[in-house]
Amino acid sequence: DAGITQSPRHKVTETGTPVTLRCHQTENHRYMYWYRQDPGHGLRLIHYSYGVKDTDKGEVSDGYSVSRSKTEDFLLTLESATSSQTSVYFCAIREYSNQPQHFGDGTRLSIL
């Protein structure tokens, strides 16, 4: 299995609080991705990174920011969480652009 660790695995928080999710990889892969998965919507890309300090928006980036200061870590931040951001968040990594993605086991985030 690809060395991807997401933390925390579960989190419950209140509306308006900041939340940071971490994705850590041991594969030294160039590309890293953050997705959210919701019933009826499937997997939707939030942000992705194609190198240290190189990030770009996905299809549902509003309300989210990311940072990648090291190859191995990709952080997803909800500056002021809303109930609509309750979801399961997945990190994925990819070595080259023509290779498939490998996923972490997800973070279940509930915002009350």
């Binding site: 590309y31 919507h41 499937g42 997997l43 939707r44 194609y50 994925a92 652009s97 498939p100």
Partner: protein, 113 residues
Amino acid sequence: TQLLEQSPQFLSIQEGENLTVYCNSSSVFSSLQWYRQEPGEGPVLLVTVVTGGEVKKLKRLTFQFGDARKDSSLHITAAQPGDTGLYLCAGVVNAGNNRKLIWGLGTSLGVNP
């Protein structure tokens, strides 16, 4: 907006039955990937099909890529309870210096013993 329609959305069958899952789009893909996801885990790649008309087999699973590279199917022969899970297809399109994935919504398969 590029869409990848996956059907059926839900499927509940008895052990030993055969089934087919479909992914259809009006877009042409450079390749198409199939993933399987179990509860509490991330999707895991099963196969990538690249050439129009390509057929790949993985034990009891047969994957086919349409001749025009717009659609794909996954056929499972003699399904077993261990096949239970969410099956996802993802079409690959070229987008500048990155390759973009277009995801289907998934087929939730339950195989009853």
